[in-house]
Symmetry: C2
Subunit: 195 residues, 2 copies
C-alpha cells in the first residue's frame, strides 16, 4: 500500500501540497466511498432478508409460525444493520462531497467523530453477529443437554433465509473493519508531527 508512505519521506516538505499526494488521497477516498456503498447495500440486504423472514408449519392440526421476532438476537441484528445502513448513507454523502470538492480531512474533531462512529458501528455489528450466530447454532444443532429444540429441523426455509441475512451482515462487518482502520489512520496521522 503506497498510501501508507504518505508523509514518511524525510525532510520538512509540508504534507498535502504535492499533487501526487492529493492523487493518492483521492484514490483512497474513492476506495472508502466504494466500501461504504457496499456496506450500506449489504446491511440493507441483511435487514430485508431477516425482517421479511417467516415460515408457517402445520403439525397435525396446529399451525405454528416462525418469525424473526421470536428470536431476540435476530431483532437485534436487524436494528443494528438498519443503523449501519443509515450511518453508511450519511458517511457516503460526506465522503462523496469530499471527493467532489477535493477537500482533505484535517479537522481533528471531525476525524474523531468519524472514527468513533465507525468503531461503534463495527463493535455493535460484531456483538449482534455473535449473538445471532449463537442463536443460529442453537437452532441448527441444539444443545441436547439443555433440552432445547432443533428449530431448523422444523423451519428449514426460515433458517436458510436468516442464515443468508447473517452472512450478508458478516461481510458488511468485515468491510467495516477495513473502513475503521482507514478512519483510524486518517485521524492519528494528524498527530504525527506537522499538519
Amino acid at each position: 500500500m503506497s498510501y501508507l508512505g504518505v508523509g514518511v519521506s524525510p525532510g520538512n516538505v509540508p504534507v498535502y501540497h504535492g499533487t501526487d499526494l492529493k492523487a493518492v488521497d483521492r484514490k483512497v477516498k474513492l476506495v472508502e466511498l466504494m466500501l461504504r456503498f457496499v456496506i450500506c447495500v449489504l446491511a440493507l440486504v441483511s435487514v430485508l432478508l431477516v425482517a421479511t423472514d417467516s415460515q408457517v408449519q402445520e403439525i397435525f392440526t396446529i399451525r405454528k409460525k416462525a418469525k424473526f421476532t421470536n428470536m431476540k438476537a435476530l431483532v437485534f441484528l436487524v436494528v443494528v444493520n438498519a443503523m449501519a445502513a443509515a450511518y453508511s448513507m450519511v458517511q457516503l454523502l460526506r465522503c462523496g462531497l469530499s471527493v467532489v470538492t477535493g477537500s482533505v480531512l484535517l479537522s481533528k474533531p471531525l476525524a474523531w467523530l468519524i472514527l468513533s462512529g465507525d468503531q461503534l458501528i463495527t463493535y455493535m455489528m460484531l456483538a449482534a453477529l455473535g449473538a445471532a450466530l449463537q442463536s443460529a447454532i442453537f437452532a441448527k444443532y441444539s444443545e441436547p443437554e439443555l433440552q432445547w429444540m432443533k428449530v431448523c429441523d422444523m423451519y428449514g426455509k426460515f433458517c436458510t433465509q436468516s442464515g443468508e441475512g447473517i452472512a450478508s451482515s458478516a461481510v458488511a462487518w468485515l468491510m467495516m473493519v477495513v473502513v475503521t482502520g482507514m478512519s483510524s489512520f486518517s485521524l492519528f496521522r494528524l498527530y504525527g508531527g506537522n499538519k
Copy 2:
C-alpha cells in the same frame, strides 16, 4: 488529554527529543501497563469462574449436572479469555521492558503487529461476549416460542457464577478497546509527517 497534543505544535521540531514529551510518553506507557495488567487479571478471573462452574441437581431420582462445556458459547468464552490473558502477559512484558529502558516505539512493523494483535483479541472477545450473553439470555428468560427450557430456573448457582465470568470478561473487553485505541494512536502517528 494533553498527550494528544504531542507533535502538533507548528514548526519542525523533531518529535521525541524534548524531555517533557518523553515524560508524557512514559506516563502513557504506565497507563498502558496498568490497563494490560488489569485485563490479564480480569481475563484470568473470567476463565477460572466459568471453567470451574458446575452444579448438580437432583430431580426426583435423576441426577443432572450442569457444566460450562454444555454451552458451547461458554467454552468459546473460556478459550478466548485464556488467549487474551496469555496475550496480555506477553504485552505486559514488552510494555514493562520499554518503560524500564525508556525506549519509544518507532518501528512500524512492530507497531502494526501490536495493533493487529490488540484488534484481533478485542474483536474475538466481543464475539465471544455476544454469543455468551445471548446464551445467558436464553438460559434465563427462555424463548417460549421455541420451546427452549429456562435453564437458570434449575441451575441458579451455575447461572450466577457464569454471569460473573461474563461480567469480568466484559470489563476486560472495555479496557481492550481503550488499549487498542492507544496502539492505533501509537502506530498511525508514525505516518504523520516526520519520524
